[in-house]
């Protein structure tokens, strides 16, 4: 049985200007110890997918319209507050894209780190403080005994990010959801944090959902990758296959856009056009307005993920029909 299994998740935002279908029928699952990367268009619903699992969707305007997210037998979208408290924030922890959303600006780092230990693990204050210091040290923050008493704004962007990572790992979770945890870090510290996450995985068998825009990080860390576009998963496969033989036209365009792979000084390749308006009905493929292969069929038929080889699913209708390679 997978550790987490998400089925047909739909999360919509009901705003003055319409209903935004931020996540529109997302299904995936994750085994213990596995690392799943989520990449895709900015605004495609990567964060909202994870917020939904964590029960962090602001309601209203947000609403989970359908779906289940079963973690170790408990459906997180329909469980009791007691079940939720026992899992979220302890067995499932999340690192946010925006460090300031999870750090309280008015609380010292020390209190924020010690809080879950005092609540969930009934540690004594000195013992919790020791764990907190060790946690800061493990994410590469020097002089932890001096810095633990600082407030979040007294840290640099990357150090705040590391504090948050320390906070998420302090309860030794079984599933870590990391939403762009290293984008604010330089590559050497990033490498150190990724090593730390890998080590926690080896030692605790922790599973990881890793959202990132850095395809270099994905290639080094993830077992499997899924690509999102306009609230839906458009392709999902193991990391090697995704990089070496991407099939969905969006995945291919995304790969072509990587600045690192293009010569300096040239105009970078970009995907022309804009993502669709998620408040309007989207009858066909979400990418059809920007896709060079789109036909009338693509604009009319809602595609579904289908396997094109045992471990590889994708949703392009024309690839499924064998029209394009």
């Amino acid at each position: 049985m997978p550790l987490l299994s998400v089925t047909d998740l739909r999360t919509y935002f009901h705003t003055r200007s319409g209903v935004y279908r931020a996540v529109d029928g997302v299904s995936f699952s994750l085994e213990r110890g596995e690392t799943l990367g989520i990449v895709g268009e900015s605004g495609s619903g990567k964060s909202v997918t994870c917020y939904s699992i964590m029960g962090l969707i602001p309601t209203p305007p947000g609403r989970i319209e359908s779906g289940t997210a079963v973690f170790d037998g408990v459906d997180l979208l329909h469980c009791t507050p007691t079940q939720s408290r026992a899992i979220r924030g302890k067995r499932v922890a999340m690192i946010f894209q925006d460090p300031m959303t999870s750090l309280n600006p008015y609380m010292r780092i020390s209190d924020q780190l010690m809080e879950p230990l005092l609540i969930h693990e009934n540690l004594s204050k000195p013992a919790a403080r020791q764990r907190a210091l060790a946690a800061l040290e493990s994410v590469g923050i020097n002089d932890p005994d001096k810095r633990i008493n600082l407030y979040p704004h007294e840290f640099s962007g990357g150090m705040r990010q590391r504090v948050m990572i320390a906070m998420a790992l302090i309860t030794k979770p079984e599933l870590l959801i990391a939403d762009e945890p290293t984008t604010a870090l330089d590559v050497t510290v990033q490498a150190q944090i990724l090593e730390l996450i890998k080590k926690m995985q080896r030692e605790l068998g922790m599973a990881v959902i890793f959202i990132t825009h850095d395809l270099g990080v994905v290639s080094g860390l993830c077992d499997r990758v899924q690509v999102m576009y306009a609230g839906r998963i458009v392709e999902s496969t193991d990391t090697r296959t995704l990089f070496h033989s991407p099939r969905h036209p969006y995945t291919r365009a995304l790969q072509r856009s990587i600045p690192a792979l293009q010569p300096k000084g040239t105009e970078l390749y970009t995907i022309s056009g804009m993502p669709p308006d998620l408040s309007k009905p989207l009858p066909g493929c979400g990418f059809s307005a920007r896709c060079e292969h789109a036909t009338d069929l693509c604009r009319a038929t809602t595609p579904a993920l289908a396997a094109i080889s045992p471990n590889h699913t994708q949703s392009c209708l024309r690839v499924q029909a064998g029209d394009i390679l």
Binding site: S42, D98, D143, E180, T183, Q255
Partner: protein, 338 residues
């Protein structure tokens, strides 16, 4: 491709001389006790020419954002001078600084914290245009819509609030706001790291185009070295409050001389799983040092694979080394072939 001269930039629009920004650290609640000083920026000398893109990279916490905030005079300068188009900002009064900011805009690292949560995108973008009289109420809608399209945001989002956007969409609002007044200099603190690569490419193309067409100068702070290499004319590498290497962008990345730059370059992740999983990285021993207690001599010495005793005792100056390159390493010449 503009290729500015290295040492004295002919007509620098922005010049920093020995800039220092230190923060006091105190502890205690009622009776504040001074327990140390964070030397976030500690003697930075740099210049940026018109139409030049200067990339600024370095360890997380090394003082890049503080340097940016110092240039805008958002934090008090401890020492040194910041000169913008001949005007010394460090001795200017608040009114003069506010006027100068029309020409000097910043894109902040954390778009969530820098956008007013109670203002719609329209309000955020219209405000500077109306305040500075750049746009009249009659054509403000068109101006805002154009700005939004410039950064790849659909104008239909005009009446939305920051929290209704994804991280990357918010970043684009922040970029649009910086562009609104068509400034001469933009300091962009990690402007694209929250964006997917396709939008990254769009923004990079946009910035490069503004640099070319409007002779915009850009200080581009980022951790993604392939992005920095792509957009910059020169790259400055910072470590613990100081510039340790400065040179032409491609050269610095392809032939780094300072041991820290070498480690940094070797850690760039490659978007290819086969290469990425077998690649050799220079793993730096130990942790990034604390700017509260910087190591003696060369502050990189505790982690430097080439360090000798002399490195513990002598602070290496940023000195010319090879063509168009400044390096702050005592052993730069000895190790250059290693």
């Amino acid at each position: 491709m503009p290729s500015p001269a290295l040492a004295p930039t002919p007509t620098p629009i922005l010049e920093l001389r020995d800039v220092r920004t230190h923060f006091p650290i105190s502890s205690g609640f009622l009776f504040k006790r001074h327990v140390g000083t964070v030397k976030a920026v500690d003697g930075v000398t740099l210049s940026v020419a018109r139409g030049e893109v200067l990339g600024l990279v370095g360890e997380s916490g090394c003082g890049k954002s503080t340097l940016a905030r110092t240039i805008l005079q958002l934090v008090p300068t401890t020492g040194g001078t910041v000169v913008l188009s001949g005007q010394n900002l460090t001795t200017s009064n608040t009114a003069e600084i506010l006027t100068a900011r029309r020409d000097l805009q910043m894109v902040f690292q954390d778009p969530y914290a820098s956008l007013n949560p109670r203002m719609t995108v329209f309000d955020t973008l219209a405000e500077p245009l109306l305040v500075h009289g750049v746009s009249s109420p009659a054509d403000i809608n068109v101006r805002v819509a154009t700005l939004m399209r410039t950064v790849g945001l659909a104008p239909r989002f005009m009446q939305k609030y920051p929290h209704e956007f994804s991280g990357g969409q918010r970043q684009r609002i922040a970029i649009a706001r910086a562009l609104a007044l068509e400034p001469k200099v933009i300091i962009a603190d990690e402007p694209v790291s929250a964006l997917d690569v396709s939008i990254q490419a769009q923004i990079l193309n946009l910035l490069a185009q503004l640099v070319r067409k409007m002779n915009l100068s850009l200080v581009f702070i980022a951790h993604d070295l392939s992005v920095v290499k792509h957009i910059s004319d020169r790259i400055a590498v910072m470590y613990l409050g100081k510039i340790v290497e400065l040179g032409r962008a491609v050269d610095v990345i392809e032939r780094p001389h300072h041991p820290y730059t070498r480690a940094l370059v070797s850690a760039i992740p490659t978007p290819d799983p086969d290469i990425e999983r077998t690649r050799q990285r220079i793993v730096l021993p130990g942790d990034p040092p604390s700017p509260i207690n910087p190591p003696s001599g060369c502050s990189f010495h505790p982690r430097c694979p080439y360090a000798r005793d002399i490195c513990k005792a002598t602070v290496p100056p940023l000195a010319p080394f090879a063509t168009d390159r400044d390096v702050a390493c005592l052993r730069a010449a000895e190790i250059s072939d290693l």
